[in-house]
């Protein structure tokens, strides 16, 4: 019982950053109606920029975090300009395939610049775990959870309380109608893309700081986690993305404890499969589903 609760605590902490990854993913999907496979690799580029800033200049965590976020956002805009802006409306497959090509390109670029496989990443917070009766909570996990939930709340505020958020939700609801009410869709889309990649950057920084290392494979890892959490939570939903991430984190922590690390990923894929088969709209109903059905 103690193990079960401890695993759940650990899972929720890690899952909060999965939730952030899914949040960035779902915003891009909602606004563009297209899957951006280069999402994780954009985050990875940010991570590499962070590690360079750390290793070369001995920067502190906040500076490294800023570098990761800026790097991810710039890489995100690069992907948008290359894979999404030039593609005609409806050419979703072309965008997805080209975002796959850019994934490979970004991964190779990272390997060329930093040829050693693994690089150090600064820790988030050090210090003894907090003891709560039989349970222990890592300080860096706590920082991760706090940052992730805070950022998710901020994203929700921007979406529902600002003019930019209104524009985003209008595009998500119906792109043609968004044009018709005067939303400058061509201006908003790259901004949304950069913002979503920056959210991924925050998630990437938190995960890397907990792992204290980065490899070129981090891009694929981030895309996979974000994608699975997004599908579990429900495409296009902010609370869904966070919930999906938390659930994925808990499932992984439990299966790792009881079955070992090899089985852990298998269980995650099985849960994704189960959701796709039984409840394809995910935990929380989708923002975009109703409108895509009507269109």
């Amino acid at each position: 019982m103690v193990d079960l609760v401890q695993n759940t605590i650990d899972g929720l902490m890690i899952g909060s950053s999965y939730g952030l990854l899914a949040l960035g993913f779902t915003l891009i999907f909602g606004v563009m109606r297209r899957l951006n496979l280069s999402y994780g690799p954009s985050v990875m580029i940010g991570g590499y920029l962070g590690t360079v800033v750390y290793l070369q200049f001995g920067a502190g965590p906040l500076t490294v975090a800023a570098a990761v976020v800026v790097g991810a956002a710039v890489a995100g805009i690069y992907v948008e300009r290359l894979c999404f802006a030039p593609m005609k409306a409806g050419a979703a497959i072309a965008s997805m395939v080209s975002s796959f090509a850019i994934w490979m390109q970004l991964e190779q670029a990272a390997i060329l610049v930093l040829p050693r496989h693994t690089y150090a990443f600064p820790p988030l917070a050090t210090g003894a775990p907090i003891e709560l009766g039989p349970f222990a909570i890592r300080v860096d996990h706590l920082v991760m959870l706090g940052s992730a939930l805070g950022l998710a709340a901020a994203v929700q505020l921007v979406l529902y309380r600002t003019r930019f958020g209104l524009a985003l939700r209008a595009i998500i609801g119906n792109p043609v109608a968004a044009h018709l009410v005067g939303v400058d869709v061509r201006m908003v889309m790259p901004l949304a893309f950069a913002g979503a990649s920056a959210i991924g950057g925050v998630a990437g920084f938190l995960v890397l700081a907990v792992d204290q290392q980065i490899t070129p494979m981090f891009g694929m890892w981030a895309t996979l986690k974000g994608l699975i959490a997004m599908m579990i939570g429900g495409l296009g939903s902010v609370p869904g993305a966070v919930l999906g991430g938390l659930l994925l984190g808990v499932i992984e922590a439990q299966s790792q404890w009881y079955f070992g690390p090899q089985i852990r990923d298998l269980v995650a894929y099985f849960v994704l499969f189960a959701f796709l088969a039984i409840r394809p709209r995910g935990l929380v109903g989708s923002m975009s589903e109703a409108s895509t059905q009507k269109a």
Binding site: R163, L166, A167, A177, L180, G182
Partner: protein
């Protein structure tokens, strides 16, 4: 005055508009009738800037609109109530109205305009916090009209406002159109329901296969003939 001259628009190689010219008098209701596939919706989308014309000009009070982005066209005073309404389904009625005022920055004016919309469309007021996707077809049509009015347009374009609505609701929508026009809104309307359209319109155009084939005032042509040409096209009418 609103004037479209010699507009050509195409989807790939297929020309949907083959040189359309027409004039809409300020303060009037002008109606565009024609069979399916004549290019009526294409013309509306081109005026709104969703489609870019290959050539030709679109002028509102002398100012050129062709080539501008949809957002600029809205800020110049043209709003389109699109075919199938296209409300934002996951936004509340109130948020849909706010979105309609997206180009405006006058917070107080927007709030008072929302109140004016609630006064004109009491059912929208009742459902102000309800998601627009849960409204009935007629209510969604009213919301789409109110949303377009929130940009304070000088010219209101409406594409098939009666589409898919019950006869009683259609009558209500046309009452609203006449009322808006009495309050001074210039309206350019595409309609399948020729009978209703001819009752409110001051002027009408017939469009067939991407061209304007007739223009006049209701009563100038027998309604039977208008309806026949609007639904079936000229060639069937002759044969």
């Amino acid at each position: 005055m609103f004037e479209v001259s010699d507009i050509v628009a195409a989807y790939g190689k297929i020309e949907a508009l083959k040189g359309v010219s027409l004039k809409v008098e300020s303060g009037r209701i002008t109606c565009l009738l024609g069979p399916n596939g004549a290019g009526k919706t294409t013309l509306m989308m081109t005026i709104a800037g969703i489609l870019q014309p290959r050539r030709g000009s679109i002028r509102l009070e002398g100012a050129e609109l062709a080539g501008l982005s949809p957002a600029r066209i809205v800020s110049r005073g043209v709003a389109l109530v699109p075919e199938n309404r296209l409300v934002f389904p996951e936004m509340s009625v109130r948020e849909n109205l706010l979105a309609g005022a997206y180009q405006r920055r006058d917070r107080a004016g927007i709030d008072s305009d929302i109140e004016r919309m609630y006064a004109r469309f009491p059912r929208l007021k009742e459902r102000r916090d309800q998601m627009a996707g849960t409204l009935s077809g007629g209510e969604q049509q009213m919301l789409a009209v109110a949303r377009a009015l929130m940009s304070r347009p000088r010219l209101l374009l409406m594409d098939e406002p009666s589409l898919g609505l019950a006869p009683l609701i259609v009558a209500e929508i046309f009452d609203i159109i006449a009322e808006l026009n009495r309050d001074g809104t210039t309206i350019f309307l595409v309609e399948q329901n020729a009978h209703m359209a001819l009752k409110v319109a001051h002027q009408f155009f017939l469009m067939e296969q991407g061209r304007i084939t007739f223009s006049g005032t209701p009563g100038q042509l027998a309604e039977d003939e208008v309806i026949q040409r609007a639904y079936l096209g000229t060639r069937r009418a002759v044969g």
